[in-house]
Each structure stands twice: as structure tokens, then as C-alpha cells.
Symmetry: C2
Subunit: 209 residues, 2 copies
């Protein structure tokens, strides 16, 4: 992406799909000029990883933040030897659970579920970034507040909805996940067994006829 | 609280219990001087409410942020006519799910479960606050990031733990809740029926003998 951003300020039509993912995300938070986007793209670090790459392992350091430009990152825990998937991060999503304060070791794994392109940043990168673009600190706070709101809503959904309602909700809000994620991971994410998920899907198909 | 903060900078020993709650919370995020705390206490709005007061209602505006100095705020949804409790906010906790962006109506209720003392702020108060104390914007971002991390961990707990494990976790991390919250609300919060919670408690008591 670096070579694409050299030179003058560029209109949105000239941006790459990955740049548009970040622009789309940031534009929801606040108004950012093309010149500011150029500066942002100069400051961020973009990395590409193959499917199967571990970004974080249980017990390892959790000192890096990620934002998904392309692909899918899966978060999971290992409980009694069994993988429990707790999140899928896809295009336009900050992988917001990774920053570990107080130097704790990570309790979970993060793996690239597909070939994935990410923005990566450690605390010191973030510090430098905000020093160069102080207005982004405010936007970042608002962005994190929105993520927190979403996280609370997801939590509430888990308490108030049945697995079937959660599946229907996913069908509505993240239909792409159903095609790009193996069933056993999706079942785990919904808090049910693969057999239960299979029954839920059948029931929904019958009702939809 | 206002009259207590007039005059000179005050040492921690002279602070009220409620002031110490906020000092304790902010000190976990970053280093703040006594003079800065004085300024903070001059800028914030503190309100007291009686038990039973609704702060937010389903369908109403969600334009105010809260931080609990004393008491307990409960978040619940009404699903098919039944209350589903999704959070308890007690001393030292920001009620972080309240800020609704894009002028959406609130999907849930917030009620004071006890006589409660809160810091209250609307978006414009926050703006004024950060204009007067710019360093707090950064600390606020870090604070919200920590809240987000906690929220993700809670979410993961809900996926990976059984109701009994969640109850044991609560016993360890928030033992005060068990005494100050009615059983049916606690059961709802744990995602089980009151009867299941009762069985879980009996099982744990038998195992503890």
C-alpha cells in the first residue's frame, strides 16, 4: 500500500479497496479530510499474513493492536483441551481485545482464519501517531466508545437471546460470516454444539418455506 | 461535595469516600496530581438519586454518561414482558453503555437499585471538560480501552464458562453483589432461572463442606 500513497493528496476514487475499508471505518467516527487520510496512510504499518498465522498465543504478550483491512482474524480460548471461539474480526473491524494493560499474559489465541491484511500497532506506535495527529486522539476515543457500546450490546444479546435468535441476528448483521467460517467455529461462537446449530438451521429453513 | 473542594489543593486524607472512589478509578489509568483532582472535582456534576429512579428508559434518549460514586445502577431489557438484567454498575464503575451515537433510542432501562450518587455528563459537558483539561482526553481514551477489554473478557466468559463457573467467578470478583442484589436479578444476570441459581448455590455449599 505504501507506494500507492506517495505523491499528492488523492481522491477516494483512487484509493485501494483496503484503504477504503479504513476510510469507511474512520468516516463513521468523524469527518476526516483527504489530506489527513494521506497522512494516516503514511504513518500506519500494514502487514499481510497467511491463513493459519497466530498473531497472539495464550500466555504470550498482548502488546499489539490490529485493524482488519482484508481477511478474518479469529479469537479463541482453549478450555479443557477444546477450542472455544469467542470472536471473528473481519474487514473494517478493530481487533480491540488485544491490548493488554499491566503486562498481563494473553488468555486467548488470535489466528488468521484466512489470508489477512492488517494494520498493526504497538503502544509506542500509537503514541507517535497521536503526537503527529493530535486530533486523532479524540477520534480514537470516540471510536473506542462506539466499540464499547457494540460490545455491551453483544453481551446483552448473549444474556437475553436464545441461540436461535442469536443465529438469526448473525444472519442479519454478518451474513458473510456464515459462508467464510467453518460450522464448528460458528457453533462455538454462538455458544451451542455443532449438532444444535445444525438443528437450528434446519428449523429456520423449514419455517422459511 | 462542592463545598468540600473549595479552597486549596487537598491531600487524599481529606477527601470524602465518594471522591476517593473516583481518585481510585482514575489512578489506575494514569498519574494525576492533587491539583488536577481539585480541578476535576470542580468541573464534574454530581447527582444523588433515590432507589427506584430510572436514569434511562427503553425508547428514551441515551445521551448521558454516568460514573457510580456510591450505590448500584442496574441495566435491564424487557423481553416478552420479562425483565432481563444485563449489568450491575457499582462504586468505581463507569456506566459505559449509555452513550448512544447517531441519536438512536435506548434499547434498555437503567434504574438505581439503591440510593445512588453519580457523576453525570452529557456530550457537551464532556467537550467542555476536555477543553479545560486536555490531558484527560488521553486518559479517558485509555480508560475506555480498559473498559472495552473488560467487556470482551466478560463476553468470552459467557461463551466459555458454564453458569456455575460464572457464579463462582462472580463470588471471587464481585462478592458484594451477592448481598446487595435480589436473587432473581442475579439469576437473570447469570443467564439462568432463579431455580437453577438456587441449585448451583446448594451444590457449591455441599462441595465446600
Amino acid at each position: 500500500m505504501a507506494e500507492q500513497i506517495a505523491g499528492n493528496t488523492r481522491a477516494q476514487a483512487q484509493r485501494s479497496p483496503e484503504e477504503l475499508v479504513l476510510i469507511g471505518y474512520l468516516s463513521q467516527i468523524g469527518s476526516i479530510s483527504d489530506a489527513e487520510f494521506d497522512q494516516i496512510f503514511k504513518l500506519i504499518k500494514v502487514r499481510s499474513y497467511k491463513k493459519g498465522k497466530y498473531l497472539v498465543r495464550e500466555g504470550g504478550p498482548g502488546d499489539t493492536c490490529y485493524f482488519v483491512l482484508r481477511g478474518c482474524v479469529r479469537q479463541f480460548y482453549i478450555v479443557d483441551g477444546i477450542e472455544k471461539t469467542t470472536a471473528f474480526y473481519t474487514e473494517g473491524m478493530p481487533v480491540s481485545a488485544t491490548f493488554v494493560y499491566d503486562n498481563q499474559a494473553s488468555k486467548f489465541f488470535l489466528i488468521c482464519n484466512e489470508d489477512t491484511m492488517l494494520i498493526e500497532g504497538k503502544a509506542e506506535d500509537e503514541k507517535k501517531f497521536f503526537a503527529q495527529m493530535p486530533r486523532m486522539e479524540m477520534l480514537s476515543r470516540v471510536g473506542v466508545e462506539k466499540e464499547l457500546q457494540k460490545s455491551h450490546e453483544k453481551m446483552a444479546d448473549f444474556i437475553i437471546k436464545s441461540p436461535e435468535e442469536r443465529y438469526l441476528n448473525l444472519l442479519e448483521t454478518r451474513p458473510d460470516l456464515l459462508d467464510r467460517v467453518p460450522q464448528y467455529q460458528l457453533a462455538s461462537f454462538l455458544g451451542v454444539t455443532p449438532e444444535s446449530l445444525s438443528r437450528i438451521r434446519k428449523r429456520i429453513m423449514v419455517n422459511a418455506r
